[in-house]
Symmetry: D3
Subunit: 67 residues, 6 copies
C-alpha cells in the first residue's frame, strides 16, 4: 500500500494532549519537534501514546517554503 | 517575527522543477526528502534554487499520523 | 497500519491527466465523481491508471459543510 | 452560485459534537462515514443538527490517493 | 445556502493563468492581491475571467497568523 | 525573510478564544472579519491578544473561489 502524500517523517510520539474534539500530538523527528492537530477519534483509533513509533504525513501542497 | 505554523524544518533545496502554474521544490532534511508544491510565482519571488538553505513550514492541522 | 485521516472513500480511477508538476486524478465513488490534485511524482510512484481500485483520503480538518 | 471546490458529497448529518473552538460533524454518505472538523461558530451559523441534508465539500488539492 | 468556511472575501478577478492541471487566479481585494491555485476544470466550470466579481473562500483551519 | 504563501492580509486581532488544543483568532481586515483556527500553543508562543497588529497568511492552494 502506497500513499500519494510525498512527505513521510518517521518520528516518535512524545506527548498526546486530548481536547474535546481535537488532540495535539507532539513528536520528535531527528531532534526537531513536530506537532500534529488531529481528531481525538484518530488518537483513540490508532491508540496513540508517548513512545509510539509513527510516521508524520504531509501532502506536498500543504508545505510552504521560507527563505 | 513569529509564525503560528508549528512545524519548521530547516532544509536544503536539492531541485526546483517549474511547471506553468505550480512548481515542485525538492529539499533534503537530515537525509529525508521533502517535497513542496508551491506556485511558480513563489519560486521566483524567493529566488529559490538548488543549494539554498530554507525552512519548510507546515501548519499543525495539515499533518497526519500513521501508526 | 492505520492513518489518522478520518475520511476514506473506496473509489475507482477513471482518468489521470498529467501536467508538468501536478496531476489530476478523476475517480468514481458510488456514482459521484471525485477529483484529486496530486503531484505527478505520486502518480508515477503509485503507478496510477484508469481502472485502479484506490482509496481517496481526506483529513477531517480539510472538509467543509454546506447547508 | 458555483464553488471551485471539486468534491461535493451529498450527505446526512448523523452527529454533531461541540468542543470549545472546534466541532466534529459526523455524516453518512452512501453508507460511508464522513467526519468534518469545523469551528463551533460554523455549526451555529448553519444550525447543523442530526438529520440535516448537507453537502460535504473538499478542494481537489486536499484529497490524497492510496493504492 | 451557507458554507462552513469562515473567511469570505469579496474580490474582483484580475488575471487567470491556465496550466495543464492547475490554474492561477489573481484577485484584487480592497487593494490587496489575492492568489488562488485551483484546477483548470474549476476555472472552466465557473467561467472565470478578468473582471468577474467573486468571493475568495478560506477555511479557518487553513489560515495562519504572523506577528 | 520571505514566505512562499501568496496571501498576506494585514489585520488587527479582535478576539482570542482558547480551547484545550485549538484556539480561535478573530481578526478585522479592512472591515471584513477573518477567523483563524490555530493551536493554543501558537497563541501563547506569539502572545496573541486583542489589538495586536498581525498578518493572516493563506497558501494559494488553500483558497477557493465562488462565483
Amino acid at each position: 500500500m502506497k500513499i500519494s502524500g510525498r512527505n513521510k517523517l518517521e518520528a516518535t510520539v512524545k506527548q498526546v494532549v486530548m481536547g474535546q474534539v481535537m488532540a495535539k500530538v507532539v513528536m520528535d523527528y531527528k531532534g526537531t519537534e513536530l506537532v500534529a492537530a488531529i481528531t481525538v477519534d484518530s488518537v483513540e483509533d490508532l491508540g496513540l501514546k508517548a513512545g509510539d513509533k509513527v510516521t508524520a504525513l504531509v501532502k506536498a501542497t500543504e508545505m510552504m517554503v521560507i527563505k
